[in-house]
C-alpha cells in the first residue's frame, strides 16, 4: 500500500462520540492542504466542529458525502500527493473499507408501519392507516382504556384487500387527553370528524365494547356514514357493567395491582402478562390520562350501570354483526339476547371480553365473511 496516502477518517470529538455526520466539506477534491487546515465540518449529537487536516497533501477523494452518518474511524476522504495514481487511491479505499467494515455488517430492517398523530378538527388523534382496496374502508373503534394495540391481531388481517384505519379515541393511547364530556355522543362526533378529515364518505365500523356504543351512536346520528357494523361485546345493549374492572383500571398504578384487573378481560388468564400491564401503565402515566378515564367512566357508568340504552338504534341499522365471548366478565354476553332478527349474533365459547384477541382468527374470518356478503 502506498505510504504517501493518508486516510482521513471520522474523528472522535469528545468523550462520548461513536459516530458523526459529515455536515459539509470545506475543501474541494484536488485542493492542496496544509496540516491543520480545516477539511470538513463534523456534526455530532452535541456539536458541530471543524476537522483539521492531520497532514499536508492533496485532497484526492471525498469518500463520504455531505450529510452522511459514519462511525468513528470510518473513511471520509483520502489525502495523497499529486502524483499518486488514481488506481492506487482506489485500491487504498477498497482495502480500507474492506478492513473497516469487516464484522460491522448491517442488518436489513423491515420495520412495521408506524402510527402517526394527525390533527382532526383541532384534536390530536393517533391513527394507524394501512391497506388498500375498492370497498369502503374499515374504521376500528376500541373500548374504554384501550388503544390501537387492541387490534394487533386483526388490523393487518382485515387490511389484506381493504383500507383499514385504527385510531385512539380522545383520552386514550397516543391521542390528546381532552375528552370533553366523555359521552358516547362526544366520541361519535369525533368519529365523524375523523371520517371527514380522512375524506371517507362511508365506512364499515368494527367496534369493541365502549367503542360499540360509539358506533351505534354514530349510526343514530349520521346513518349515511356507516356502511355496516361489526360489534364486539358492545356497550349500550344492557345496563350491566363490571365496575370492579372500571374502578380497578382507573386506580391501579403498578403491575401487581393492574394484572388482576386486566384478568377480567379474558377467559384465558394466562394471556395477561407483564408486558400488557406495562403498556397500560405507560398509557396511564401520561399527563391527563387518568383524569380522562375518570371523566369517561362518570359519563357512561355513573351509578354502576351503563348510561345509554342503544337498543332502539338496532331497529333500523345497516347490516350488523354482533360477536360476544360467552364468558365475558365485563359486559355479560346475555346482552346479546333478543336482538332484532336481521342482526347476526355469534357467541364464542371459552372467550372473554376481548374476542378479537382471544379468538382473533375466528373473529377476523367472521368479519371478512360478513363484509363479503
Amino acid at each position: 500500500m502506498n505510504a504517501s496516502i493518508t486516510p482521513i477518517t471520522m474523528p472522535k470529538f469528545g468523550l462520548a462520540m461513536t459516530e458523526g455526520k459529515l455536515a459539509g466539506w470545506m475543501v474541494r477534491p484536488g485542493a492542496t492542504v496544509k496540516a491543520g487546515d480545516d477539511l470538513a465540518d463534523i456534526e455530532t449529537s452535541k456539536i458541530t466542529n471543524a476537522y483539521e487536516s492531520p497532514a499536508a497533501g492533496v485532497l484526492r477523494r471525498q469518500v463520504a458525502q455531505e450529510g452522511e452518518m459514519l462511525a468513528v474511524g470510518a473513511l471520509i476522504g483520502v489525502l495523497a500527493d499529486a502524483d499518486t495514481s488514481d488506481a492506487d487511491i482506489d485500491a487504498f479505499i477498497a482495502q480500507f473499507n474492506a478492513e473497516f467494515s469487516a464484522g460491522a455488517a448491517e442488518s436489513a430492517d423491515d420495520t412495521p408501519p408506524e402510527p402517526s398523530v394527525i390533527d382532526v378538527k383541532g384534536r390530536a388523534l393517533r391513527v394507524l392507516d394501512i391497506g388498500h382496496g375498492d370497498g369502503d374502508p374499515i374504521v376500528l373503534i376500541h373500548g374504554f382504556g384501550g388503544d390501537i394495540g387492541n387490534w394487533l391481531f386483526n388490523h393487518a388481517a382485515l387490511a389484506s384487500n381493504r383500507r383499514v384505519i385504527a385510531f385512539d379515541l380522545p383520552g386514550h393511547g397516543g391521542s390528546g387527553k381532552d375528552v370533553g364530556p366523555g359521552s358516547l355522543e362526544f366520541f361519535s362526533s369525533v368519529v365523524v370528524d375523523l371520517l371527514d378529515t380522512l375524506g371517507i364518505e362511508r365506512a364499515h365500523l368494527v367496534a369493541h365494547s365502549l367503542g360499540g356504543g360509539v358506533a351505534l351512536t354514530t349510526v343514530k346520528n349520521a346513518p349515511s356514514r356507516v356502511a355496516s357494523l361489526a360489534l364486539l361485546a358492545p356497550a349500550g345493549l344492557g345496563p350491566d357493567i363490571n365496575m370492579a374492572f372500571i374502578d380497578g383500571f382507573i386506580s391501579a398504578d403498578r403491575q401487581k395491582t393492574l394484572i388482576p384487573v386486566l384478568s377480567y378481560l379474558v377467559h384465558d388468564k394466562g394471556l395477561i402478562g407483564r408486558k400488557m400491564a406495562d403498556d397500560v401503565l405507560r398509557y396511564k402515566r401520561l399527563d391527563g390520562a387518568v383524569d380522562a378515564l375518570r371523566q369517561v367512566a362518570a359519563a357512561n357508568f355513573a351509578d354502576g350501570h351503563q348510561t345509554d340504552n342503544l337498543r332502539p338504534v338496532l331497529e333500523s341499522v345497516p347490516p350488523t354483526l354482533v360477536i360476544w365471548g360467552k364468558d365475558d366478565e365485563i359486559l355479560p354476553s346475555s346482552h346479546a339476547a333478543e336482538l332484532p332478527d336481521a342482526i347476526t349474533v355469534e357467541i364464542l365459547p371459552d372467550t372473554g371480553h376481548m374476542p378479537q384477541m382471544e379468538q382473533s382468527e375466528e373473529v377476523n374470518s367472521k368479519i371478512r365473511t360478513f363484509l363479503a356478503r
Binding site: 468523550l15 462520548a16 449529537s45 452535541k46 402515566r285 401520561l286 399527563d287
Partner: protein
C-alpha cells in the same frame, strides 16, 4: 411517540415542566454556556454533554442560570430557593463534584423537613452524571448513589433507559422533597421509543424488565441493560431470570424484591458502586433478614473491587460489572449444592 436518546428524554422532561410551571428553573455550570464569551453566542454548550441544550434559548436568563464554578454556593442557593417558592433543577455536572458541596446537601437540604418539625418543603432536584466506562478516571467516574441513599431526607433516582429517565425526571420535578437524579454518562446516546407528552413514573416502584423462574437479578441504572443482556444469553441455556430495576434506591421497593426472591429462591445483585456499604450490601441485608428461608443458594453480588476507578481501559473493564460477570454469577447460584449437615 418517537425514538429519543437518553439525553433528549431528559432535556424534554425539563422543557415540558418549565413550560407547565414557571417556578421551575435550571442552574449549573455551563447549562447554557457562552455567557461572557466574545462571540455573543449563548447556549453554546447546553451543559458539558449537551443535555440542557436549547433551554436557555426558550426560557431565557431568568430561568436558565449559568453559575460560576462554586458548587457549594449554587447548590445551597438552589436549596434555599426551593425552600422559598421556586422549584430548581440544579446540575452538578459530574456527581464526583459533590465533594465540593456535600454540606449543603447532607446537613442542610436533606434535614430541613425533619429538623424543622415538618414545616419545610424543599422541591429541589439535583441532576448529575455518574458512572465508569469512559476512561474518565478516579475523579469523574464514581457511582455515588449509596452515599445519597445513606442520607435520610433525600430521594435517589437512577433511570435505566430514555423512557424511564423522562418519566422519573418529571416525577422528580413535581416531587416536594429533595431528589438526587443520577444519569449514567455512558447512556446519553441510548435510544428508544419515548412518548412526546409529559408522564410520570412513581418513586419506590420497581420495574420488572423480565420475569423468570430461576434467578432474580436486581440491577441499577446502566446495569439493568447488562443484566438483560446476560439474561437473554442465559435464557438460551435454559436458565430464566427475573430482572428488577428498582428505579429509585430511596425509596426502595422492598416488596417487589422480596416477592421475586420468594418466587425464584436465588438472588444476584448488580451494583456499579464501590462495594462497601453499597446497594448490593443493603439489599443483601434485606433479603437475608426477610427472606432467608426462601433462599436456595447464597446471594451473589456482581460489584467492583474496593478501589478507585482506574483510568486505563483494560483496568476499567476489569473493574466494572459486565454481562459475562453477571452470567457467571447466575450460573454460580444455579449450581449451588446444598450440603447436608453431617
Amino acid at each position: 411517540m418517537s425514538k429519543k436518546s437518553f439525553r433528549q428524554a431528559i432535556n424534554e422532561a425539563m422543557r415540558l415542566e418549565m413550560r407547565r410551571d414557571p417556578r421551575v428553573i435550571i442552574m449549573g455550570e455551563d447549562v447554557a454556556g457562552g455567557q461572557g464569551g466574545t462571540s455573543g453566542v449563548v447556549d453554546a454548550w447546553g451543559g458539558v454533554l449537551g443535555v440542557t441544550k436549547g433551554l436557555y434559548t426558550e426560557f431565557g436568563p431568568e430561568r436558565v442560570l449559568d453559575t460560576p464554578i462554586t458548587e457549594a454556593s449554587y447548590i445551597g442557593a438552589a436549596a434555599g430557593a426551593a425552600a422559598t417558592g421556586l422549584r430548581p433543577v440544579a446540575e452538578l455536572m459530574f456527581v464526583d463534584f459533590v465533594g465540593s458541596c456535600l454540606d449543603q446537601i447532607m446537613n442542610q437540604t436533606a434535614k430541613f423537613r425533619y429538623m424543622f418539625g415538618g414545616k419545610a418543603r424543599t422541591p429541589l432536584v439535583i441532576r448529575a452524571m455518574f458512572g465508569a466506562g469512559f476512561n474518565a478516571a478516579a475523579q469523574h467516574s464514581q457511582a455515588l448513589y449509596p452515599l445519597f441513599t445513606h442520607i435520610p431526607g433525600l430521594k435517589v433516582v437512577i433511570p435505566s433507559s430514555p423512557y424511564e429517565a423522562k418519566g422519573l425526571l418529571i416525577e422528580a420535578i413535581r416531587d416536594d422533597d429533595p431528589v438526587i437524579f443520577l444519569e449514567h454518562k455512558v447512556m446519553y446516546d441510548d435510544e428508544e421509543e419515548v412518548p412526546d407528552e409529559a408522564y410520570t413514573i412513581p418513586f419506590g416502584e420497581a420495574n420488572l424488565t423480565r420475569e423468570g423462574d430461576d434467578v432474580t437479578i436486581v440491577a441499577f441504572g446502566r446495569m439493568v441493560k447488562l443484566a438483560n443482556e446476560a439474561a437473554d444469553k442465559l435464557e438460551r441455556q435454559g436458565i430464566s431470570c427475573t430482572v428488577i430495576d428498582p428505579r429509585t434506591t430511596s425509596p426502595l421497593d422492598r416488596d417487589t424484591i422480596l416477592d421475586c426472591v420468594a418466587d425464584t429462591g436465588r438472588l444476584v445483585i448488580v451494583d456499579e458502586s464501590s462495594p462497601r456499604c453499597n446497594m448490593a450490601a443493603d439489599i443483601s441485608a434485606l433479603v437475608a433478614e426477610e427472606a432467608f428461608d426462601a433462599l436456595k443458594a447464597p446471594i451473589r453480588r456482581v460489584i467492583p473491587p474496593h478501589t478507585p476507578v482506574p483510568f486505563a481501559s483494560v483496568l476499567e473493564a476489569l473493574y466494572l460489572p459486565d454481562a459475562a460477570k453477571i452470567e457467571a454469577a447466575v450460573k454460580a447460584v444455579m449450581n449451588h449444592k446444598v450440603t447436608e449437615a453431617a
